[in-house]
């Protein structure tokens, strides 16, 4: 009945063939795209807010800024003492309220403008003036004014004596910008070209996607070993892991889950590199409200804190148990909590201290944590703490979580006990004590106020020699363990995972927590 083949069958067959051929042609990988030798591609799950250094206060943006801009002082790899960058040296006067820095000569910005003291004064003044909602200006709270003397000398006038001012100059608030390019009273939009003195120029920025950097000829320092740098942003660490395994990125820094680290360690062809950790995790109590207003309750929890379990089971050894707010590796660290509470959890001692204070058990307490800001393992972390406390029979724990935006603005105002993390603005013990234990800082709103502690911290800030400062640091740590408004429980390692052709990472993994991309090379 029919003449010839029905058209549709041929058409369908052709379609299928074309599809298969197309898919096959496109899919045949052969080898994965190798990244060229002159380009270093780093993956990260960090996020960037806005690049203008006066308008951000987070690690991801700081990483980007660090390639483009520079500070007056910085850290040589492996050292935690500020050393010259844009300034050749800084000196305090006798009152330790006036710091004068001599600036490096012959430095130019990426657009050819000369670097002078005007830029320095301008950068600090604008940061305070802009008063950005990120709160970065709080780092400069002790700065009264900045004056210049000639093109290569700058003086910082402080409100209170501070021997650690040089450290402040190395923080995220200390970047120097070109006064001819950046507005004095508002942020430069990300779509405009960013101009700094740093080793890399930002040539392309796609928010949430990637930031592309290129080395530039007029840089006053040593040229970066790899002329092109790309930082790729991932929203999920699992995708970053697969990208790393496929060779689409050369290295990844921040942040994989503990399971992923364990798996990466077993992958041949990839190296997991660890350095000393200065990020800490701790549990804060509001000491003005029950049940944590009872010292005995806090001490009991300190006796029961399952540090080893958390470090080993949850984090697979990527964090180490922490026994003081000041992490190990930081000058001035002592294992204060071990001295006061012992190294391992003890139900007997917890029971004893509660009985002695006539506290009725089980004590009902609500622990708060936040699901994404500190990594997904926070869920397991707090489950582990709950289990340890409940299992002792002395506590009845309720776990609650709130997502970061609500969490961050509530903290001690409503939560009785809550999780927090911290990594330092500058690598000094002071940055682990003053924000948390000083009555005036109120960063946690946890109501802790001890005049004795304030006195110690005051002495520390005013001390003139490092030895003297460390003495007060240790005193503060011991008192902090005794009063226990906060229980620190782990410090994290700085971990980067890289393909074998990337070199130099181990050298940059140090307590300053800076990934110095300009020192890395590829073979």
């Amino acid at each position: 009945m029919g003449q010839g083949k029905p058209g549709w069958r041929v058409a369908a067959a052709t379609l299928v063939l074309v599809a298969v051929a197309g898919f096959g042609g496109v899919a045949r990988a052969g080898t994965d795209p190798q990244t060229p030798a002159n380009t270093l591609i780093d993956g990260t799950t960090d996020t960037v807010t806005n690049i203008d250094p006066s308008g951000n206060y987070n690690y991801g943006t700081d990483t980007v800024d660090r390639e483009i801009f520079q500070h007056l002082l910085g850290y040589k790899p492996g050292s935690t003492v500020p050393s010259p960058v844009l300034a050749t040296g800084c000196k305090a006067d006798a009152t330790v309220t006036e710091w004068t820095c001599t600036l490096r000569q012959g430095v130019t910005f990426q657009n050819g403008d000369k670097f002078t003291s005007t830029d320095v004064a301008f950068s600090f003044e604008r940061l305070i003036k802009i008063h950005d909602p990120s709160g970065i200006w709080s780092l400069l709270s002790n700065l009264k004014s900045v004056t210049t003397k000639g093109p290569y000398s700058v003086t910082f006038h402080l409100k209170q004596p501070q021997s650690t001012w040089e450290y402040i100059l190395t923080t995220i608030a200390g970047y120097i910008v070109d006064h001819r390019v950046y507005p004095a009273d508002r942020l430069l939009p990300d779509s405009s070209t960013q101009i700094g003195t740093g080793p890399y120029r930002l040539v392309k920025y796609a928010p949430g996607q990637d930031a592309v950097f290129k080395a530039w000829k007029g840089f006053w320092g040593t040229q970066p070993k790899v002329p092109n740098l790309i930082i790729t942003y991932f929203s999920k660490s699992s995708t970053m892991k697969l990208a790393l395994q496929r060779g689409e990125i050369d290295m990844a820094f921040r942040d994989f889950t503990p399971t992923e680290y364990a798996s990466l360690a077993k992958t041949k062809d990839l190296r997991v590199l660890k350095g000393p950790g200065v990020a800490i995790r701790y549990l804060v109590f509001n000491v003005t409200r029950p049940p944590a207003n009872s010292l005995a309750v806090r001490q009991a929890i300190a006796y029961l804190m399952p540090r080893e379990t958390i470090a080993n089971r949850i984090y697979h050894g990527n964090v180490t148990p922490l026994y003081s707010m000041v992490p190990a590796g930081m000058p001035g660290h002592i294992d204060a909590f071990t001295t006061v509470y012992g190294k391992t959890p003890s139900v007997a001692k917890a029971k004893a201290v509660l009985e002695k204070a006539n506290v009725k058990t089980p004590v009902a307490i609500t622990l708060w944590w936040t699901p994404t800001h500190y990594g997904e393992a926070s869920a397991e972390e707090y489950t582990e703490i709950e289990r340890a406390l409940d299992a002792s029979g002395l506590f009845q724990v309720t776990l609650k979580s709130a997502e970061w935006a609500t969490y961050a603005k509530t903290l001690g105002a409503q939560y009785d006990a809550f999780q927090l993390g911290w990594f330092p603005d500058y690598p000094d013990a002071e940055d682990y004590l003053v924000p948390f234990y000083g009555t005036k800082s109120d960063f946690l709103s946890n109501g802790y106020s001890n005049p004795k502690m304030d006195a110690i911290l005051g002495h520390e800030k005013a001390a003139t020699s490092t030895g003297e400062r460390m003495k007060y640091v240790r005193e503060a740590e011991t008192l902090a363990a005794e009063d226990v408004p906060i229980i620190p429980y782990w410090q994290g390692a700085m971990i980067a995972v890289a393909r074998p052709d990337v070199h130099g990472i181990q050298g940059t993994l140090d307590p300053t927590f800076i990934m110095r991309f300009w020192l890395l090379s590829k073979s």
Binding site: T47, S134, G208, A408
Partner: protein
Amino acid sequence: MPGAGISLKSYLLARVALVVPTVLILLTLVFVLMRVAPGNPVSAALGGHVPPAVIKQIARQLGYDRPLYVQYGVYLWHIVHGNFGITITDRRHVTRIIAVNGAATLELTVAAMLVALVVGIPGGLLTGRFRDRPIDAVGRLFGIVLYATPVFVLGLLAQIVFGSVLHWLPISGQASPLTEATLQAHTNILVIDAIIDRNWPALRDVLRHLVLPAATLGLVFAGVFLRLVRVNVIRTLKDDYIEAARARGVRERAVVYRHAFRNALVPVVTVIGLEIALLLSGAVLTETTFNWPGIGHELYIYLENRDYAAVQGIVIAFGLVVVFASLLIDFVNAFIDPRVRYQ
């Protein structure tokens, strides 16, 4: 033939007029939803280094304490002028986000739609024609199971098989980091950008990245088209005029292919319009799974950061896209099928 019908022109005018109240309601809905939420937007921008009291102060500064009707007025005024606001966490213009990331979502959804049509329509035609035969059962089951598989499960499977096991295809991003960094962004639809630049290695890279996400999202919807076309084929095959054609002695094959199939395809256009909303929903999950830099992905991140301004702008953008796409589809439909107008 019915006498006075509604002319195409008056139908179109009436339809366009309907858009205004729809859009207004949409905007108001979103505004109310966003304002009803507890918590304020400012805390998202912080690194946990700032005391809560300061946060409150800053929120007041940014105007989140003005009376609601004032905020509403300002909001509408801005939108009418094309200002969808600025995100709080990273100070980007929402319109810019929509332009850049929206292009990525467009690339994904168009490719997925193609996959869905290419798989679903022939499948529907086949299963409808051979109803109740084995091929029908297989085809329908295929369609149902595919739709029942959440797009993130299918995506995960695809990633494992084609990424980790076979190493054939990349499983994240719109292009490899290198290509993304070096390709010029003209339209932000990377396939087109690569073609404009005649950058063939980049085109290949971009297409390879597109395969899995588009196939994943597309296959899920292929099932929908399959079922739809199938039902229509069945319905059409029962129609009187088909009987009439058979009675006239037209060959069965011609009956099926020339009459039934063609008419069965008409509703597909409508369904494409309906599916746009679903496709955008699916895009959020697909983009999150494949790290595709589309607008669904951005929404997810802004939600996490409680960036109300961003969420508001993006949801409005989605809604508007759907409203105008439906409008377009209705136009096309009214043009093709006169019956639509007589409602």
